[in-house]
Amino acid sequence: MAVADRPVVRPRPVYLNLIAIRQPVPAIVSIMHRITGALLFLAGIPLLLWLIQRLLASPEAYEAASRTLAAPLGKVAVFGVVWGYLFHLLAGIRHLTLDLRAGLTLASARSSAAAVLVLSLLLAAVVAVRLW
């Protein structure tokens, strides 16, 4: 094929404004899985170890830790870590079912992603009611 006969290659439009693109539910769950994972590493692990140590150290340390967690900021921190853990856990279970080749159709992948979001919010609501 002569050069002149080739179809004109036009530059393809590149549109990657992640804020403006309407993300499908599985994409939202996917990025939230990653964000919650990062936050659980950065804040969750040290908070968990600190809490276990304080709970076990002495009755006074237990009381002090309980007061810290019962303060407004402490409750927000507990809620954040618990919701992050629950979301990450549910999204992970969904991941494992996908690995087992279950729910791979677009429709079921969408509904399972929505289920992860809704279920984690419901469980977080239970935690919130217990906290406040």
Partner: protein
């Protein structure tokens, strides 16, 4: 090492992929165990937590959970760094910081579980 392989790359295998799934199941089992204990007792006070952590099997279970958690965190954080941090020197530095933090957490865990038994 082939030219397209980086020393801070993914090791190009399924080992980490599999480890991420196995560790998740260990953590799921421990989460259900602790949740069950707390709900069964209607919440635990200081004495009950101490009694629980005085049990050898529970300490081992906690140690397994923390080991799984730290391995899981390593695979996850490294995936994030490989996706978003392109300069290899910065990526290597952040991986070293992450590893140091995880090893430090492992030491903290050992101290909590068996430090002053």
């Amino acid at each position: 090492m082939p030219a397209d392989r980086q020393p801070v790359g993914a090791h190009y295998g399924v080992r980490d992929w599999l480890a991420q799934r196995v560790t998740s199941l260990v953590m799921l089992a421990y989460t259900l165990l602790v949740l069950g204990i707390v709900l069964w007792n209607g919440g635990l006070d200081h004495a009950s937590w101490r009694a629980l952590f005085a049990s050898g099997p529970f300490r081992i279970a906690t140690f397994l959970f923390m080991t799984a958690l730290l391995l899981h965190a390593w695979v996850g954080v490294r995936n994030i760094l490989m996706d978003y941090v392109k300069p290899l020197s910065v990526r290597l530095a952040l991986q070293i910081v992450t590893l140091c933090a995880l090893v430090a957490y492992a030491g903290w865990t050992l101290q909590i579980l068996w430090g002053h038994a």
